[in-house]
């Protein structure tokens, strides 16, 4: 088990290196250069060349990438933002906790709403407990997040002023963004929980449990759910990465300084150190989340645990 854990942690290194190379390449081959973005339309060619030289952007691609890696790995320096002139690390340090909080709250809401309702609608298939949540889930999965955010803002902060519309001065500021991010993901988890449960409650061992005289709630929550949990955990893990770096619309709408909007502005402004720093941090966190998901598998299913211990499973 420990060997498996160690190997999986080692695997994060090549993954991160690969991600950094791909992102660096994309930033290099897309048109435009940092100086033009900094100076705006009015800059002369002379100024542009000078600033690009100052930033080191005039050097060949591989030299720049090597230089970036050297500084990042050896000197633990992720560089300085072209646009803000502050260090990338200070930006990340400021924004990462905010993003992690929003993501965690959203997923808590999503799984606390989605999973139990999904289980219920599987158990009561074709009844009102099934069709009503299904229709509702379809609705929440279909509407855009920013629209849901605006509606929440309109109702819960303008009409009935309970929560602030923007900013994260107190815990109240996290409620609306987490809701508007969480509800669509709740819909997704509901669908996953439902289909996974439907498959599980048709298994022979559920019939065995019934034949033993087990009460229905024990059959559902003990015998079935534990077996149905794998796809649900997987989707929660994937959702974590998605929200952490991809909640740009919601972050913009609620004026939350998160990682997603940082990276997107960085891309627009050709702010290469900012983009690189943000995405490398995101990819490390996503790798760790996937590792946690795999460890949870082992916790749930003794068959997978046995595989890990024998060290036969090395892939992500």
């Amino acid at each position: 088990m420990w060997r498996y854990l160690f190997r999986r942690c080692l695997l994060i290194i090549p993954i991160t290196l690969g991600v950094s190379f791909i992102v660096f390449s994309i930033m290099a081959i897309t048109p435009g250069d940092p100086a033009t973005m900094i100076l705006g339309i009015g800059g002369t060619q002379e100024d542009i060349d000078r600033i690009n030289q100052e930033l080191g952007y005039d050097r060949p691609f591989l030299v720049r990438y090597g230089d970036y890696l050297y500084k990042a790995v050896v000197k633990h320096d992720l560089g300085t933002s072209y646009q803000f002139k502050t260090t990338v690390w200070s930006n990340i340090k400021q924004r990462l906790p905010v993003s992690v909080k929003v993501t965690t709250f959203s997923l808590l809401i999503a799984s606390m709403v989605g999973v139990p309702i999904g289980v219920l609608s599987a158990v009561k298939q074709y009844s009102l407990f099934d069709t009503f949540p299904t229709v509702l889930a379809l609705f929440f999965a279909a509407i855009p997040t920013f629209w849901l955010g605006m509606m929440l803002m309109l109702v819960l902060s303008l009409k009935i002023p309970i929560f602030p519309a923007t900013g994260i001065a107190s815990w109240k500021g996290y409620v609306l963004p987490s809701l508007s991010l969480g509800l669509p993901f709740a819909a997704q988890q509901l669908r996953f929980a439902r289909s996974s449960m439907l498959e599980t409650i048709r298994q022979d061992y559920i019939r065995t449990a019934k034949a033993k005289g087990a009460p229905e709630n024990i059959i559902i929550w003990k015998h079935a759910l534990k077996n149905a949990l794998m796809p649900i955990i997987t989707i929660i893990g994937i959702n974590f990465g998605l929200i952490l770096g991809g909640a740009v619309a919601t972050e913009t709408l609620f004026s939350i300084p998160g990682l997603g909007s940082m990276v997107v502005t960085g891309i627009k402004m050709k702010d290469i150190p900012m983009v690189m720093g943000g995405i490398i941090v995101l990819s490390i966190i996503c790798s760790l989340i996937m590792l946690i998901v795999d460890l949870l598998y082992a916790l749930i299913d003794p068959r997978i645990k046995a595989k890990y211990s024998r060290g036969r499973r090395a892939a992500i």
């Binding site: 061992y205 034949a211 005289g213 087990a214 077996n227 068959r303």
Partner: protein
């Protein structure tokens, strides 16, 4: 007076979907005596498992429907019981061994826990955990598994061992009736013999009544006191094991079943199956359901549903033995 523990009267079960109605079990009656074993024999799709599951009310709720009949356990009709009442019977008075041990055990629970549960659901008020755990050890030793292994998960056991665990779960509460639904079908032949003789021994020592569902006449010969032959949802021949294996009069289907067993003493190139297939269970035919495949079919067989011919304990549902004909032999 025979000591009946279970009596099934005129039971009919249908599966209803939007598209069609499947007549799975049609008007069957049989009874089970204390300490005896009844074998229900028939080919795949004959309705054996449906009949067995109905005894525990384990049929899929939405589509199955018991059209008529009674299942009497003592003086209670199981079909009329509420969910809470039937739960007290399941695993406690009537237990079931399922066909496929590979899928019958929960993969994420230890076998000890799975046996413990069966006891826990039916424990007496005030029973302590240690007592139940002790009983788990007892039951495991009974089926020949070391109690040391109760912390292991199903995937750590072989098929035969898993079936032993399934049997341990079924026997944990010492049920009055054990329903074994093809308990050896999924096992290889050597393990089959082991498991069968173990079931038999345990049944003897606990004086449990048993319904053995199988398509294997060898299993029936080895284990059963009474035999019921099922075809297309009907019991076409019933009797004691002696009636079925020694009597000269048989339903042509039963003859076909015996005929399809390979005989080691006779040199034969191929197996001798019954030609044709079972009739479509969604269609009700007026005559005998076996008529289409029957080598002795007469005109009357296609038109009229045969009555039961009774001689002592032996009952055959066939026109060949109707009144006036039974004196032929």
């Amino acid at each position: 007076m025979r000591d009946l523990v279970l009596e099934i009267k005129n039971l009919s079960i249908r599966y209803k979907t939007d598209l069609e109605t499947v007549y799975a079990v049609n008007n069957i009656s049989f009874s089970l005596e204390k300490g005896q074993t009844l074998g229900i024999v028939g080919e795949t799709g004959a309705g054996k498992t449906t009949a067995a599951l109905s005894i525990l009310k384990l049929l899929p709720e939405r589509i199955s429907q018991v059209a008529e009949g009674e299942i009497l356990l003592g003086d209670k009709d199981i079909l009329q019981l509420s969910d809470v009442e039937i739960r007290k019977i399941r695993g406690n008075k009537i237990a079931m061994i399922f066909q496929d041990p590979m899928t019958s055990l929960n993969p994420v629970m230890t076998i000890g826990e799975q046996i413990y549960e069966a006891l826990f659901f039916h424990k007496h008020v005030g029973a302590r955990r240690e007592d139940l755990e002790k009983r788990v050890d007892e039951v495991l030793s009974l089926v020949g598994i070391s109690p040391m292994r109760k912390g292991d998960y199903p995937h750590q056991f072989s098929g035969g061992m898993k079936q032993r665990v399934v049997i341990a779960i079924a026997l944990a509460c010492e049920p009055e009736i054990l329903i074994a639904d093809e308990p050896t079908t999924a096992l290889d032949v050597t393990i089959q013999a082991q498991v069968l003789s173990m079931i038999n021994e345990l049944q003897m020592s606990l004086n449990t009544s048993m319904i053995m569902i199988t398509h294997d006449l060898g299993v029936v010969a080895k284990t059963c006191d009474d035999v019921a032959i099922m075809y297309a949802g009907e019991l076409i021949e019933t009797g004691t094991a002696g009636d079925i294996f020694c009597s000269k009069q048989h339903h042509p289907y039963t003859e076909g079943l015996f005929g399809s067993i390979p005989n080691l003493k006779v040199e034969a190139r191929r197996l001798n199956p019954i030609p044709g297939l079972m009739p479509d269970p969604t269609i009700i035919v007026p005559g005998c359901k076996f008529a289409q495949r029957c080598p002795k079919a007469m005109d009357v067989c296609i038109k009229v549903h045969p009555q039961e011919f009774v001689r002592g304990s032996h009952r055959i549902k066939c026109h060949l033995f109707q009144k006036g004909r039974d004196t032929d032999e």
